[in-house]
Symmetry: C2
């Protein structure tokens, strides 16, 4: 148990140190890192050597020789209001000149829009490199233009952040047959030149997620799911040939949302995404085959140019990848990585990164705190769905200067291996099955409500908490789509549905809730004895008086200002199984103007401190409702916290009539979670806090004993 499943960074200047630390941590793999070189004898350091590989950048000679084969993107210029009958727009204004080069050769792909009417207009021409438009006074205009991407966005980020001075990396597009042949040729050449590795770590494949910089070199737009940089002319032509659909610039711009994953996808663009996935798969497969022929494993880094390689998509298996690696930010990312099908190895890169921003003299305590926090947030998810490997990145020599840190990592590596080994022998016990219901469903498993790869946004943290909580609960989690509900029997093995998000978004569902078949199906499902949990503006529609299509199921609705004249009296807070013992539930941003129907049980209500009235003017935060034989819970919002996690667990149990399952494989303190491995009759108890905690522990039969855990402890109990 002291060896294996751990990857560490190394470099040519730290060979002996690498050996020493590999031994301490039981590392069996080494990897290179941005800006460093693998030692020549890397294979002596570990069983596996990972070597970073880029497909569509890095060879500027090729890029310079074939400027017409650069990658492209459709962008919207700034929006300008005319105050006369003409207007000139400089499309490149606001963009980073080194990244974005307007493609004046393919002007037939450009469009100009009157954004006041959202109609395309054709009275424009190029004058001195700018767009001159005939306008209606006091209408607003913008230009959807095609541009060549002349600097790879991820390099821009590293370059500007670290003050690099090396050459700026051009991009090239394998959708051009010439470049496609080239990248295959280059792959073989590279493998020949780099014999000291076993694993090609693709960082990543063909098309970068949307990442655009502004004229000051600051990030202007970032969408980790964005297909904007697949605006490839050969692909657009190929798609048109296959489907007869000629996509235009506005199909990519979409009134400025750039097909955000928060938007229900346009059917045309969804087809194009599928086309891109098939194309990326076919190219990547060729490269993976070359790797395999050369006795190398192929590993995907889940990030950077990953667009079109959706790991939960239908074509992922066809790439033939061996492994996947990604960074671990918390429980959600553990599950996102860990559940990816069709690869043998799932590896998580843990924090902190061994970079000088953390590893500077005197900062060891903070480094350890970050390590512990990252480990503790990931651990509860690892218990449910273990990763096969863990690793770190950065400069190992920096970490080596913090001996207590090195020691703590060593303990964590052991804990990691023990978790892996236990769960490889026995599936963790799952009390019920919950489905997250949204527009994307399975293909975006554990990726709902992400912006820019897990950045904090005021608009989303109250919803992201749901996924983070679920990542560590003893329940089976599925991601299903509205189309699944409409077209399959997916609900058959699901105990409770969760619908979470803001109105009109792809996460709450938007237009889907105009579909009465969907409404009937879900109502019937709940009425027949199942559970439904709505968070935020679940099932919200454009109905101004009764926006929640499932208001009857939820027992609440949202006041939009049109029924203020109707008194709403259900304002008494009831004690309830769900909230018993929980006094600090955090609703995050909450949701305004929610009122409860007459027979609904209000579990939490926040009156304004400005004026107390004995009618409800919209402050319900938590409510429970009986709906025929089923049950429903409404939650205004739920960021991650230990208490919130406990509350959601109890809500799931109540909604599925499983209250009697609460005191089974359970600790009655919110900071202590329990994972039960049935086949081994073993319990893993974790302390998610930095306090000593004693509480009651109930085994699977409900037998009670008192247990004590040290701060952050992982405790195993075998019976």
């Amino acid at each position: 148990m002291r060896k294996g499943r751990v990857t560490i960074p190394t470099d040519v200047t730290f060979v002996d140190g690498t050996k020493r630390i590999a031994d301490l941590w039981g590392a069996d793999a080494v990897r290179d890192c941005d800006g460093v070189e693998l030692p020549e004898n890397a294979k002596e350091l570990a069983d596996k050597v990972y070597n970073t590989y880029f497909i569509v950048r890095g060879d500027n000679e090729w890029g310079r020789k074939h400027p017409e084969e650069a990658q492209r993107i459709f962008l919207e210029s700034e929006r300008v209001t005319a105050n006369s009958t003409s207007l000139t727009i400089d499309v490149s204004k606001g963009f980073l000149k080194d990244q974005i080069d307007p493609d004046f050769i393919n002007l037939d792909r450009w469009q100009v829009f009157d954004r006041t009417t959202n109609e395309e207009i054709h009275t424009w021409k190029i004058v001195d490199g700018k767009v001159e438009i005939e306008t209606t006074p006091y209408h607003t205009y913008s230009v959807d233009f095609l541009a060549r991407v002349t600097w790879h966005p991820v390099q821009i980020y590293n370059y500007l952040t670290n003050n690099w001075t090396c050459e700026k990396q051009l991009s090239y597009d394998p959708a051009y047959p010439n470049t496609r042949e080239y990248i295959k040729r280059y792959m073989q050449e590279w493998l020949d030149k780099h014999p000291n590795n076993n694993v090609v770590r693709f960082t990543t494949f063909l098309y970068q997620f949307t990442l655009v910089f502004n004229d000051l070199g600051k990030e202007k737009m970032v969408d980790w799911f964005g297909y904007a940089e697949t605006a490839s002319i050969p692909l657009l032509e190929g798609f048109e040939k296959e489907t007869g659909i000629r996509l235009v610039a506005e199909d990519f711009i979409n009134n400025g949302n750039y097909n955000s994953p928060f938007k229900n996808p346009d059917p045309k663009f969804k087809k194009y995404m599928d086309y891109i996935q098939r194309f990326v798969t076919s190219v990547v497969k060729e490269l993976v085959d070359i790797c395999h022929k050369n006795n190398r494993e192929a590993m995907m880094f889940l990030g950077d140019d990953w667009i079109g390689a959706e790991p939960y998509g239908p074509y992922f298996k066809d790439m033939g990848l061996d492994s996947v690696v990604g960074s671990v930010g918390g429980g959600v990312t553990v599950r996102m990585l860990g559940e990816i099908p069709h690869v043998k190895i799932h590896e998580g890169r843990f924090l902190p990164y061994f970079f000088p921003d953390t590893f500077f003299p005197g900062n060891e305590e903070n480094a350890i705190a970050e390590l512990n926090k990252n480990w503790m947030t990931a651990r509860r998810a690892l218990l449910r769905c273990p990763l096969d490997r863990m690793g770190f990145g950065g400069y190992l020599s920096l970490a080596d200067k913090f001996p207590a840190f090195i020691n703590r990592v060593s303990e964590i590596c052991d804990e990691f291996r023990l978790i892996y080994e236990t769960s490889s022998k026995s599936k963790p016990h799952e009390v019920l099955t919950v489905a997250i219901l949204n527009t994307w469903g399975h293909i975006r498993s554990w990726q709902a409500h992400m912006v820019a790869h897990e950045l904090w946004y005021q608009q989303i943290y109250s919803y992201q908490g749901i996924y983070e909580i679920l990542s560590g609960l003893p329940v089976k989690v599925k991601f299903i789509s509205f189309d699944d509900v409409l077209n399959t029997n997916c609900l058959d093995d699901i105990d409770v549905i969760i619908n979470v998000g803001d109105e009109h978004t792809a996460y709450s569902g938007g237009e889907y809730w105009n579909n009465t078949i969907l409404i009937e199906k879900i109502r019937k499902y709940v009425a027949e004895g199942h559970g439904f949990i709505g968070v935020g503006q679940p099932s919200s529609t454009d109905n101004k008086e009764y926006p929640f299509a499932l208001g009857d199921v939820l027992g609440v609705n949202q006041e939009k200002g049109f029924t203020l004249s109707q008194d709403k009296y259900n304002i008494n807070k009831h004690s309830h199984f769900i909230t018993e013992g929980l006094n600090n539930i955090d609703f995050g941003e909450g949701m305004k103007n929610i009122y409860a129907y007459e027979n609904t049980k209000v579990l939490h209500i926040d009156f304004s401190d400005r004026f107390k009235r004995n009618v409800n003017v919209g402050e319900v935060k938590l409510a429970a409702n009986e709906y025929f034989d089923g049950r429903s819970v409404y939650i205004a919002g739920l960021p991650y916290s230990s208490e919130n996690a406990r509350m959601l667990y109890k809500a799931l149990l109540w909604a599925t009539h499983k209250e009697d399952k609460l005191n089974r494989a359970y600790a009655d303190h919110v900071e202590i979670e329990c994972c039960y491995y049935e086949k081994l009759n073993t319990y893993c108890l974790i302390n998610n806090s930095l306090e000593n905690i004693s509480c009651n522990f109930y085994d699977i039969n409900g037998e009670k004993e008192i247990i004590s855990l040290l701060p952050g402890e992982t405790k195993w109990i075998s019976k």
Copy 2:
């Protein structure tokens, strides 16, 4: 100055006391009150005697004789979800049986709706007094039914509140020719029987604002603007004859909003409202003529059965009324009453009401505090637009037990008369003209954002503050509609427009902002040098990416979740003329997810204390923008406070390029307001606080002097 313009209540048991207090207060009119009788010699007590009169209730003998001529209302039953193919709905469930009597005779006026699809369905019948419906399982249904109103709603309120035991008053409908003749005859008879009055105080006319009670006798629905109780069969028939439009129940129910004034009115229903106004006017005119023929003045109480008698409507003048009286809640109600055209006398009834809930032993200080508060909130509006008379209601004998209270009223009556006399000689100085732009415009002057006659609601107080502030600022205030902007030159004499309210409501404008002509007109107006102030969700549309149609004018927009991927950096708070010296601006409920465009000046931004990021994720609360030659200000919300009043005043000055007018007829403390009477070269300074205040006072030429005011003082300075 010690006599006149004051009305007091009296009754047969307090004649001498009335004389004494009338003398102290300078009262020249007496009135009766609910549940009391005027003394026979009332005319000896004062110059004018008001006598309360009801038109459509009070004669139960008539009501009982003509049950088919009762007033009617369309109501929606509860909404019920079917779980099989049939459903039975008891329409009267949840209503007060004594008030609401389902009209099974006119079943052809009933409708049944599938509320899941919002389609009318016809597969229903009445069985045992209930509605049996053939249903689609898991659809929701409700019945729009016609009911007779068998107990006058205002009496219900008084009856249940005061535990009355008298007979319950029936209602009758003068739309029936029989009843119409009867009410004229009765008017004459009543005048003959009541010779001891000069003024008939109509309380009020024909149709009650919507007021419906539930089965527990609690208010179920209240809309002070509601036309629901004009669901009169003869009127519906008359309207159909005139217009060819057959209104159905759902035209009144409107998916449960009952034509809330927050909703842009349906054109059909707006026509019906006009028809009702003409009908009410024609009937009331006949009664007023009878009063005049009998040498009585006709006074309207603005409340109760006032529907169809819109004081700012086109037919109001035709009723020939002499005066109007209403209760004063604050500045807005003063202006709403005071600006009513076509009547000679505007009277305000001040608080507190002389009822036992305030006038009980030991509560004199609180009674005085309520008096002072009411006076001080009304006073700043009275300076701008004086009422002709003030008055009180309740039992004078109760007030008489509080000598300090009696004394304070006496002072206030003197202040009131001085304000009246000053302003009758000189219009107060107005620095600029501001227009509130909404769907209703002039006809609902000073009535925007009212629910149930000025009740506090979490959803509206942040907008109501704008009107309350404006009621006392040295600016001319107009209320204009989108139709005015589209069809007239109303903007010609307006310096700055304010658009305030939640998205989709009649106050922000809803569908109107899909009209590009409107957008062009407003943009041009601002661009040419005028001002625009948006509060809440101004000009908001269904555009999910850029909801504010005037985002370019305002320099801000609202993030709806679809452009989160785009970085918004404008987060630096700028110092500005508008906020200088103001550190406690209160944005009330504020507005979430507002971000500023690049060139906009952010004046206030509230970062979440959960996580600070250096991009704006939507916390702008106040912003200023230059738009061509014009200026615009965005405010997230603005409840009434002295500091907020000062901020809005400065915003108005800045938006109209009148910053140089700030130190003119102005006191530089937020609690001190100044009204300047140009013709008299007289300044009235008021202290809106309960503190002693010294500050700089600037006269109209900018000459500065230091002034001091006592708590709540009114100070006159003549030059």
